[in-house]
């Protein structure tokens, strides 16, 4: 560093450091005094100011950049220097699937799984530690022995059952404290049609062998309890056609109620919200590209013509508002485009954009994942298919154990084919793999 000796001039780097405020006080004072008395250094300083301002302007010009201009050679991702270059011809590029662009590497999958499972286990243990076990009404949950989450790992069934009971009771108690109710009861209002799987059984007796499955099921139980007490069920009655806008309002109502409960509960579920969700939420908050897995516990579930589970890739855009999204079926590899609309109350409505099909997914607020309902239907004529999105009624569907014949009726608009039954779905954040 320049020491300010007699006859010596600070070099250009020192002057830039001075102008950048990177010199200590003594050095800065020496440079300042020298520049004041030295015409050459004064000119150099003036030039340096111009260079700093000019380079900042040039760099700022780089900000106005488009997306999707990534060179073909880089499409194979960031890991592994030996990755094969991307296809050179147009046909090959067109054939490059989202999966290949997403590149779900083992490391990423492991990280995503670890985050989600760890968060789920944290939730379970915190509840179990804080609350005593109480018996919940049978059938409040839709957990069934015949249904499996995609996540797998072996765990003793009995231990898991105890954990689940503790988890459920903890949530029940939290809700009762928050809402001043002595106990939690299943909703008496009609449930959204949802045919339970054959042999549906309460969680307490369900034989389970997979730890992650139990976590996922526990999460569903939490959501079911939250939704059981969700307000405004009348606005979301079964059989009523709900437009996309109404779906958004419905999701907002769920969001408001969930937020209220979150604020009222000291050890709210949000405090144990998954780390994975936190990271994904951070991306969502920043409006960055975010990825989720849309799943249903119902076998063979479809949304539109897409079999679940779906990977939802939400493009970058405003954190609140409309963004475009791509939904890709893990089973078939087919993709559909959709609009992702996140409200200020953190609810989300996904609207299918496909000729001949219409569909809506309404999701409640982020709480270690989102839960909601998916509906879709085909269109023969130009009629817009109805969308039934009912975050609150989803709880009723879950809370009523007896099998219930689907009471939903096909849309009455001319030319429409019957809609699919409303489908309970969950949306979990996953690490957004590189394309």
């Amino acid at each position: 560093m320049w020491d300010g000796g007699p006859g010596e001039h600070p070099d250009e780097g020192t002057i830039h450091a001075w102008l950048d405020g990177a010199l200590d006080a003594d050095s800065a004072a020496r440079v300042e005094a020298h520049v004041r008395d030295c015409a050459a250094c004064s000119a150099l300083t003036a030039e340096a100011r111009g260079l700093i301002a000019g380079s900042s302007r040039v760099v700022a010009a780089l900000d106005d950049v488009p997306a999707g201009t990534r060179p073909a050679w880089a499409q194979s991702g960031v890991e592994g220097s030996g990755a094969a270059p991307a296809p050179a011809n147009d046909a090959a590029r067109a054939d490059r699937s989202l999966w290949r662009r997403l590149r779900v590497t083992p490391a990423r999958a492991a990280i995503a799984a670890t985050i989600i499972v760890a968060a789920g286990l944290t939730l379970t243990h915190e509840r179990a530690a804080k609350e005593s076990v109480v018996t919940l009404p049978a059938g409040h949950s839709e957990m069934r022995s015949g249904e499996r989450s995609p996540m797998v790992a072996a765990v003793p069934p009995e231990a898991q059952s105890r954990k689940d009971a503790a988890l459920d009771s903890a949530v029940a108690k939290n809700l009762s404290i928050a809402q001043g109710k002595p106990s939690i009861e299943a909703s008496r209002s009609p449930a959204i049609p949802q045919a339970p799987a054959p042999g549906a059984a309460p969680v307490e007796s369900a034989p389970v062998a997979m730890a992650e499955e139990r976590v996922a099921v526990g999460r569903a139980a939490v959501q079911a309890l939250r939704d059981t007490t969700a307000p405004a069920p009348d606005k979301l009655r079964v059989g009523r056609e709900v437009t996309g806008a109404v779906a958004a309002r419905a999701a907002d109502e769920v969001a408001v109620s969930a937020q209220a409960r979150k604020e009222m509960s000291g050890a709210a579920p949000a405090t144990a919200a998954s780390a994975g969700a936190a990271v994904a939420q951070a991306y969502a908050d920043a409006g960055a590209r975010s990825c989720y897995s849309l799943e249903s516990t119902q076998g063979g579930a479809m949304w539109g013509d897409q079999p679940l589970p779906l990977i939802v890739v939400v493009d970058s855009g405003p954190a609140v508002g409309t963004r475009s999204a791509t939904l890709r079926s893990a089973a078939t590899g087919t993709e559909v485009r959709a609009a992702w609309v996140r409200s200020g109350k953190d609810s989300v409505v996904i609207t299918l954009q496909r000729v001949g099909l219409a569909g809506t997914i309404a999701l409640g607020p982020e709480a270690g994942g989102r839960a909601g309902m998916a509906t879709s239907g085909g269109i023969v004529a130009s009629t817009t298919a109805s969308a039934r999105a009912d975050g609150a009624a989803r709880a009723r569907a879950k809370s009523e154990a007896p099998a219930r014949a689907p009471s939903i009726v096909p849309g009455t608009s001319a030319g429409r084919v019957p809609n699919t039954a409303p489908l309970p779905v969950t949306l979990h954040p996953v690490a957004c793999p590189a394309r």
Binding site: G13, H16, D20, S56, V58, D63, P71, A434
Partner: protein, 172 residues
Amino acid sequence: MVTPDRLSALFKAYHVPLVRFLTRRLGDRDWAEELAQETFVRALKQDEIASERSWLFAVASNLVRDEARREARQRKRHEVMRAQAEAESSVEPEPTSVERAEDRALARQAIEMLAERDRDALLMREEGLGYEEIAEALGLSVASVGTTLSRARRRLMEAYESLQHERSAERA
């Protein structure tokens, strides 16, 4: 290991500047977001991060370098073609956007003409990193950061002005 909570805090603090840094570096927003995400994924794997901002920018910079090394020749060719295409593009929705596109193309070409270390130092500085952070991220001495930045700024402006002259001469 970096906890998820800590990672979330890191994300909130540094995601935006990191994406901007990478966007300026790469010229593609999606690609920048992708590398930013990869950077945070790597942070999650890290046992401990002493100087967070310089670590994140160093990793991001290394990711860019790793990719660039793979196909440097193809990249250069692509960048030149893209810059030309951007400058000559006639599909911009507004008349003023053509001018902006030209500025952007020139800026892109000029920044690509810098030495890698100079370019990284300059872009990090533009993101507000201090000299010590830049030195740590790039493996430089703190005393040499000023020299690196002054060289980067001077060469950037020289390159930019030279390209502007070339463009003007082509039109004349």
